[in-house]
Symmetry: C2
Subunit: 194 residues, 2 copies
């Protein structure tokens, strides 16, 4: 079934509705674009069911999530002209998780892509910094207090990394995100099953 | 079939034989202990087939790998008294991969466990530093030049993070790793299928 048809129902990322930012749906998994991608093509893959931990997933959800990660990863690597990928899950607040909904970060990488900002591994610092997560920024945008409790300890940790310059990453407009989601949706639908 | 029986054949991690450090085997996936775990219970999960990229995995291998990650993650979180987990894959040299064999890092986390070393997210810097990978250290131990070519760019990047003190992480003896692998193997075999 095509993603467009499946998107009849609203799609949740933690407490947020992200339907228009979703570019790929399976019956149990979705992929969405990011408000402030660390690098071009930085996307998230989540189970449709809102659960905080990987261990909360059923076997079927787990397999579907990572088969989707693999397909999406292949796609964004190609579409964004990358040569490698970081795949990372912060599974629980004490690992830096901010939104209590399982999500795998998929980040296309190219040789020396972060050279000017500190080298290949600075991606993790940016990922972990205040602005790494769509959810946290959506929350700010909506003027909400996050107040989930679960993320507070982790936020304390993240604030220790002021050296990464996130200011140059501007928050994208909803239109811009939707345009990228549409482009990626078309690309996904061109792919055969594999 | 039990892990002990399956271990009749040698198990490879890239160019290395790691059979005695393996604590869990499925027909397509294995989990092994680490020479210098970043935190107690830091283990690796790999496909048995030596392939460099996630996109090289078949659908069956992908599902089996991540179902194994989920089971192993649950186990080490419980056994090591943790509350969260980092799950991370460097998929390709430009993402920091050093051994050209798919491996997921599973790192149990506890509140404030890395507070004295820089906070919750310093785990990534350590992961990415010179001593994060069993393979790189095995290579040094064997007195080999790594010379894989593929890892060289990444190593250049990693050397930018001298601020993380890895010196306090001592390389464990083979006996110590085997004892941990035996303990974890017994714990895995106590688990039912889920």
């Amino acid at each position: 079934m095509s993603t467009a048809i499946l998107k009849a129902a609203p799609i949740h990322f933690g407490p947020f509705i992200v339907t228009t930012q979703v570019f790929h749906l399976t019956p149990q998994t979705y992929a969405l674009v990011n408000l402030k991608p660390i690098l071009p093509g930085h996307v998230l893959v989540s189970p449709r069911r809102v659960v905080p931990r990987v261990s909360d997933l059923t076997a079927t959800e787990t397999a579907d999530l990572f088969l989707t990660v693999r397909r999406v990863a292949r796609l964004v690597e190609r579409v964004y002209g990358a040569s490698s990928l970081n795949i990372a899950i912060q599974d629980g607040a004490d690992a830096g998780q901010s939104v209590p909904h399982v999500h795998a970060h998929v980040i296309p990488r190219r040789a020396a892509d972060l050279e000017s900002r500190g080298g290949v591994d600075v991606v993790y610092e940016i990922l972990e910094s205040e602005e790494g997560d769509l959810g946290r920024i959506l929350s700010e945008r909506e003027g909400e207090e996050q107040g989930q409790g679960q993320g507070q300890g982790a936020n304390g940790g993240r604030r220790r990394f002021p050296k990464v310059d996130n200011e140059e990453r501007r928050a994208r407009s909803l239109e811009e995100m939707e345009a990228e989601a549409s482009m990626l949706m078309r690309e996904m639908e061109k792919l055969g099953d594999d």
